[in-house]
């Protein structure tokens, strides 16, 4: 994959610098939070988790995968790979980014709650 050198993770970048993430990217990171998965599994997971509201197409998915690989948020994972398809897993840095995004969204929801835009807290 051409110009991508060693993983960019851990080079002192701040995870917050990447925020906010697009919804699709965040969905992919969420799908990988449980462990390695290959592309089709990611598609299914996102679809199931959103009750079919979010249906990623392959073009979008692999566009995201390519960028996440280049940025070092995910890597190929031996575990879960078959001869037909590769599996991917979060790097520690990728996990930090996902956490940071989750925290950011959570703050927003808290704010919405305080303004009574949301009927009840979404987390305890």
């Amino acid at each position: 994959m051409g110009t991508v050198g060693p993983s960019a993770a851990g080079t002192g970048r701040s995870p917050e610098a990447a925020l906010p993430l697009s919804a699709a990217v965040f969905h992919v990171l969420l799908a990988l939070a449980d462990g390695p998965a290959h592309g089709y599994a990611i598609l299914k997971e996102v679809e199931a988790r959103t009750n079919g509201r979010v249906q990623l197409s392959t073009g979008t998915l692999y566009g995201i995968v390519k960028r996440l690989l280049e940025d070092g948020w995910i890597v190929e994972s031996r575990a879960g790979s078959t001869d037909r398809r590769r599996a991917y897993r979060l790097t520690p840095f990728g996990r930090l980014v996902a956490q940071a995004e989750a925290a950011r969204l959570s703050e927003l929801v808290d704010a919405a709650h305080a303004k009574k835009l949301v009927p009840r807290p979404t987390r305890s």
Binding site: M1, G2, T3, L43, G59, Y62, G63, K66, R84
Partner: protein, 880 residues
């Protein structure tokens, strides 16, 4: 695994919209994911349809983004490369900026003068119509009013036909008397050329109807006996004249002014950008006058006819129709026997005299750019050779050939884009420069500027040259993926790259030689023209075009009084201190002729000029036999002078002095008193046989020029001359003043312009080619340091090394010269109309230029060759 369904096969097709690299990385996974999605979707009602819809939309949205990503990365890579290699960046960009700037400039001229439509509605349908003289000459001729009126009545293909002539008049009634260049236009003119007046109105039928009534009442064939007074003509002023003579006053409309002695009424002012100039001289038009065509015999062919094709009528159909009309007229009227009609797009007729020259310049500029492109390709190639190891590594890591080509082309494109942008900046500076030095015979120079078309053209050639250079630079690596080159060691001077660079260098030298030969031929043309005998001495002479017939002096007095008035003025001018001689003669470009005969020769039509005493002396004509006219001749027997050609024509080798020739029309005999050498108005045009009549004996010329020969600088005389003329008659306009030197220079300006530009182009070409061969040899020397070290350690002397390296360059130079000579000979006929006094295959020019170019190229090789011969074997071997 089962064979993929047709869905997946179609999906794989769809994936081709993604960049190859992306497809290589993810294509298989995407295909199997899609197959799984399809199996899933098949279980749901309409699922397949929805899946396809989503997928196609997604691919169409994502694919461009992936391509953009690739381009961004490649461009970033190329920019880093340029930042790290200053020499490559500066050399490449400067070369392209120069080449593209040059081409943008020439294209601005070509497009402004030759290509862009005239700024008139439907200008592509404007045509000029000529009469064609009978075979075998079949020359294009102007049009007689009688014929033109018949055409206008008969034509179905032309939507309007207008007739134009070009009066020159004295203008009074504004702030100062002035000599003007006018355009006399018939009824359809402003229908064909639909412009609006800036002030007042353009002509309409009310300006013509009184004239038609007048001509109906007075047979125009019987001149000067009108039974009723002629109506007052209407004129339009040019914007410039309006400003100059009336200071932009709006109440000028309806005012009466005087053209020669006739009162005319101003009905409007045309805007500053009226697109048409005088059809014959190309001069700016000062005023337009409404005149219906006056039938005055079918042989009186002096009108310019312009027309407008009906919409959707191709020009060939109009020509076919006019051919039929011409046949009918030729049968009906003896004066038209054999005459035809020719129709041609108006723009072509305006640009006819310059189009060859401009296209030639365009070709030359493109050649310079090609040489520059070869140089840039060479630079990139040298660089790529140095990166052979890197390339091989990348191929080993899986980069496909397409990736290498794409990156190399992107490097070229980035160089081209930067060079092109710089080139447009260069053109912004050079376009006004070239317009300011362009000779006045190039029409429409006002239209030459940097337009979007010029920018578009520049962008196009920038990208084309960039892509070409990039392609050339990766050419040697096209087999790299088949024959891994990781084994070969670094400093890349291996096979293919060098062979291609040598080929490019040969082409550069060939193109440079062709341009230099063109420059050489044009330079020899100028020298040949300079060497032509002019037959007169243009130094220290000032020429003042007098208004037609000095009319204000002659008021109602006719030619005789006018002649006396001229004589009186000449007398006064001779007394001005610093004046050597003064004479009255014809306009230099006048082309009057008449028929004469002698005892030895039958009737001959020859150029006939009417000159006053002193004219031959003022002109500095070379008297070869007899004497010139004297003041007292005017009242004596009829005398005549001949030029040498006329003397030969009428008297052969016999002495013509004292013999007579007969002016056939007037049946009168004139005695030859002198013969002068042929006088050439244009140095490259041999003089025709010419007869000089004596002014006032009893003929006279309506258009005349005063020649004043000064003892010193003729311009210093001007104030005194003006004072004398003003003293004689304050209403006399004194315009069109030039020294004969300036006139001569003006007639040569077009050639000097072309020749100068080709000279600049060929110098650039030579320089670029020299840089090209220098770079190649220098790099070869650098790469061969160890080898040369070994040779020297084994006993090769410095001179032998020098000769070896020079020999390497010499082979290229020889090949380039051979190719260039072949090219020059193949294309020599393109220069036929540009040269004079030298053949387009002139062996001497070819030889001298080839030797000069070879010398320059070898000199470019000497520098690196000396460096090679100065190599210290010990140091060189230690490097190894």
């Amino acid at each position: 695994m089962p064979a993929p369904s047709w869905h997946t096969r179609v999906f794989r097709r769809l994936l081709r919209l993604f960049p190859a690299e992306f497809r290589g990385d993810f294509g298989d996974e995407m295909a199997s994911d899609f197959e799984d999605q399809r199996v899933d979707a098949a279980r749901r009602e309409g699922g397949i349809r929805r899946l396809w819809w989503r997928t196609v939309v997604d691919v169409l949205r994502r694919a461009p983004r992936e391509h953009a990503d690739v381009i961004r990365r490649d461009v970033g890579y190329a920019l880093r490369l340029l930042r790290r290699n200053r020499a490559l960046a500066i050399g490449g960009i400067a070369t392209l900026a120069l080449g593209i700037g040059l081409n943008a400039t020439v294209f601005a001229v070509v497009s402004g003068v030759l290509l862009r439509d005239l700024p008139i509605d439907g200008s592509s349908r404007l045509v000029r119509v000529y009469e064609v003289s009978p075979p075998p000459a079949r020359d294009l001729d102007d049009v007689s009013a009688d014929n033109a009126l018949d055409w206008r009545r008969a034509t179905q293909t032309l939507d309007g036909l207008a007739f134009v002539s070009s009066p020159r008049v004295n203008f009074t009634g504004g702030s100062e008397p002035e000599q003007l260049s006018g355009m006399s236009v018939s009824e359809d003119f402003f229908h064909i050329v639909p412009v609006r007046a800036e002030l007042g109105r353009v002509f309409n039928d009310s300006d013509y109807a009184p004239w038609r009534a007048f001509y109906a009442a007075n047979d125009p064939h019987v001149r000067r006996m009108p039974s009723t007074a002629p109506p007052m003509a209407s004129i339009l002023l040019s914007h410039d004249l309006w400003q100059r003579q009336f200071h932009g006053a709006t109440d000028v409309i309806g005012r009466t002014v005087t053209l020669d002695d006739d009162p005319v009424r101003v009905v409007g002012v045309l805007g500053p950008n009226f697109p048409l100039r005088d059809f014959r001289s190309g001069a700016r038009v000062d005023y337009w006058i409404a005149t219906p065509p006056v039938p005055s015999g079918r042989r009186a062919r002096f009108l310019v006819a312009i027309g407008r094709l009906r919409a959707d009528v191709p020009i060939a159909r109009a020509q076919a129709e006019l051919d039929l009309i011409a046949n009918r007229l030729a049968r009906a009227y003896p004066d038209d026997a054999g005459y035809g009609i020719h129709i041609t797009p108006l723009l072509d007729t305006i640009t006819a005299n310059v189009s060859t020259r401009l296209w030639f310049l365009f070709g030359a500029a493109l050649s310079v750019l090609l040489i520059g492109t070869a140089n840039v390709a060479g630079l990139l190639l040298a660089h790529a050779s140095g990166r052979r190891l890197e390339m091989a590594t990348r191929v080993a890591l899986g980069a496909g050939r397409a990736t290498l080509v794409r990156q190399s082309v992107t490097e070229g494109l980035v160089l081209g884009a930067i060079g092109g942008a710089a080139g447009i900046l260069v053109a912004i500076w050079t376009v006004p420069l070239i317009v300011s030095i362009a000779p006045s015979d190039i029409p429409r120079l006002d239209d030459v500027r940097i337009t979007w078309a010029v920018v578009g053209f520049s962008v196009l050639i920038s990208l084309a040259t960039g892509a070409l250079a990039g392609l050339a630079a990766c050419w040697p690596f096209r087999h790299l993926h088949r024959r891994p080159a990781l084994r070969s060691t670094g400093a890349g001077t291996t096979g293919h790259g060098r062979r291609l660079r040598r080929g490019l260098t040969v082409v550069e030298i060939a193109l440079a030689l062709m341009l230099s030969i063109a420059a050489g031929l044009l330079a020899r043309t100028l020298r040949a023209i300079d060497a032509q005998p002019l037959g007169y001495d243009p130094a220290h002479v000032i020429a003042i075009d007098m208004p037609p017939g000095l009319a204000p002096l002659a008021h109602a007095g006719g030619l005789e009084r006018m002649t006396h008035a001229q004589a009186a003025l000449v007398e006064r001018l001779r007394t001005v201190p610093g004046v050597a001689t003064v004479g009255v003669g014809p306009r230099l470009q006048s082309s009057a002729d008449d028929v004469f005969s002698s005892e030895a020769a039958s009737e001959k039509r020859v150029v006939t000029q009417s000159i006053g005493p002193g004219y031959a002396e003022a002109l500095g004509a070379v008297l070869t036999q007899g004497r010139t006219f004297r003041d007292e001749d005017v009242d004596g027997a009829l005398v005549v002078m001949l030029n040498a050609s006329a003397a030969r024509l009428f008297f052969g080798s016999a002495n013509p002095i004292g013999q007579t020739i007969t002016q056939v029309f007037f049946k009168r005999k004139l005695t030859v008193v002198g013969v002068i050498a042929d006088v050439r108005g244009q140095p490259e045009v041999p003089a025709a046989p010419g007869v000089y009549l004596l002014h006032g004996q009893p003929t006279n010329a309506f258009f005349s020029t005063f020649l004043i020969r000064a003892t010193g600088d003729p311009r210093a005389l001007l104030p005194a001359v003006r004072a004398v003329v003003h003293d004689v008659d304050p209403t006399l306009p004194l315009t069109h003043i030039q020294t004969l030197d300036d006139r001569l220079a003006e007639s040569l300006a077009p050639r000097r312009f072309t020749s100068g530009l080709i000279g600049v182009f060929s110098t650039l070409a030579l320089l670029l080619a020299a840089i090209g061969i220098y770079g190649l040899v220098a790099e070869s020397v650098a790469a061969r340091v160890p080898e040369i070290g070994v040779r020297m350690a084994l006993g090769a002397t410095a001179p032998r090394v020098l000769v070896m390296i020079l020999g390497e360059g010499g082979v290229l130079v020889a090949a380039g010269l051979a190719l260039g000579l072949a090219g020059a000979i193949a294309l020599h006929s393109t220069m036929t109309s540009l040269v004079f006094g030298v053949k387009t295959t002139d062996a001497m020019t070819y030889a001298i230029v080839s030797i000069g170019l070879a010398a320059a190229a070898i000199l470019a090789c000497v520098l690196p060759a000396r460096r090679a011969s100065a190599i210290d074997p010990a140091t060189a071997l230690r490097h190894e």
